[in-house]
């Protein structure tokens, strides 16, 4: 019940990511996704709650909805950008594309054969959907920051997938992925800062032009 609501909210956050144009809104939405995923971890395993799972939920929530958004907010403050650069596909077009991806993800998720039945029929489709949206953001937006956010959404999808299969995979794998994520965002933040310092913008479509 709660799981389903969380997953639908996750779908809606993904769609709102496609439709909004302000960078601070992006960061808030991704932070909200982190919060939803933390709650999802608890909700999916509500019947067999262990310290491991609570730890994972807490850790992921802190990293995904506090630490990473803070770092990204600092990055946009330092790079001094407010609105996202014009995307390759407009916001309305992105929303339509996102809408078309949803049935694909649902179909794929419901037809994917998994080693054991997963809690809640929607977890796998929605995690696939978040991965799709993440990839879409990485490919469809030209600003380095939105691409990092796309990477985060992609990771959120992978995390949601992992939550569904947590019975099979130990906690440490999940925690290691989280740590990787933190490291990756850190590195990307530094690169973002360097790109901005060297090129005065973070528009990746213009990076092919060499600067003296």
């Amino acid at each position: 019940m709660v799981t389903q609501a969380l997953l639908i909210l996750l779908i809606l956050t993904c769609l709102s990511l496609l439709g909004s144009s302000r960078l601070s809104a992006y960061i808030r939405i991704v932070a909200l996704q982190g919060l939803l995923l933390g709650a999802l971890t608890l909700a999916v395993h509500a019947k067999s709650l262990s310290t491991d799972i609570v730890l994972l939920a807490l850790g992921s929530t802190i990293i995904k909805s506090l630490v990473v958004p803070r770092m990204l907010a600092r990055a946009i403050r330092e790079a001094d950008v407010r609105t996202a650069a014009r995307p390759f596909l407009g916001y309305g077009g992105s929303l339509v594309a996102g809408m078309l991806l949803l049935p694909v993800a649902l179909w794929l998720g419901w037809h994917l054969t998994l080693p054991h039945p997963v809690a809640g029929g929607l977890v796998v489709p929605v995690s696939l959907y978040a991965m799709f949206i993440g990839l879409f953001l990485i490919a469809g937006r030209q600003q380095a920051l939105t691409q990092i956010l796309g990477y985060l959404v992609l990771e959120n999808g992978i995390y949601a997938f992992g939550v569904a299969l947590l019975v099979d995979y130990p906690l440490w794998v999940e925690l290691a992925i989280l740590l990787d994520l933190l490291g990756a965002v850190l590195v990307m933040g530094v690169i973002l800062f360097d790109i901005n310092r060297d090129f005065d913008h973070i528009d990746t479509s213009r990076l092919s032009a060499l600067k003296d």
Binding site: A5, I8, L12, L15, G19, G92, L95, L102, W110
Partner: protein, 302 residues
Amino acid sequence: MPIALLHFALALVLSPMLLSLTHRTKAFFAGRQGAPWLQPYFELGRLLRKGAVFSTTTSWVFQVAPALGLAAAMAALTLLPFAGHRAIIAFPGDLLLFSGLLALWRFAAILAALDTGSSLEGMGASREAALSALGEPALILALGAIARQTGQLSLSGMLPALTVQTWNQAWPVLALLLVTLALVYLAENGRVPFDDPTTHLELTMIHEVMILDSSGPDLAFIEYAAALKLWILGALMAAILAPVSPLPEAPALLLALAGMAGVAIATGVTESVMARSRLNRLPKVLGTASILVAVALLLIQR
């Protein structure tokens, strides 16, 4: 059948009351006393006693349109079940006729506005057409989603089939549908944040600008049809919000009326806490309604 007729009469009598309720809620929020409860009725009576003035630019279209609009609204009302009871007319697929009648109402309003030859009204008509083109798919998809959820093809079958049981089984779907219908309700009735019903002669308005040239009984027809539309779309929401199905006749009617009042009060609260949205943002908001209902539909497909 007699009960369906009673419900029909009730809707005809009570629908201006929804306007009053919304108005009173807004007055409460603004710290005013507000107009008397029967003010919408007084105004209808005043307009009906007056004579109509027709500009020489207009043709018969302008004179026919208000009556056509009112007829369409009343015909849509005959298809609408209330308080879990069958409507006067019900057949499989009547949900399409229902949305078609609402479209006819809008078509009449747009034609009349264009017929005045005023550029301002033409602008309003164009905005109305643009918004309803976005709102209509959301409405039809929402009705289709309810049909799919309940397995019924008639409004009289599917709205009473929504019960507390349905909320237990598929509450995310119903919640999504409720938000969609709320957005459609606000857009179709020209309420904040889509349009401000209290403004006149302002470049941002949509519904009010289309009726600037109407007067007397014609204006009364238009206003009354608008009140009926408020009732019609509100009843769709109330059917989801307050499922009455297993209750006996009288409590069901009371609960349904309470649902209608709830919708009217919620409209008033929305209008009190929100400002009118920028015109170029409205397509996005209505697009969101379509997206929400599409998500709901996909969830039902499971």
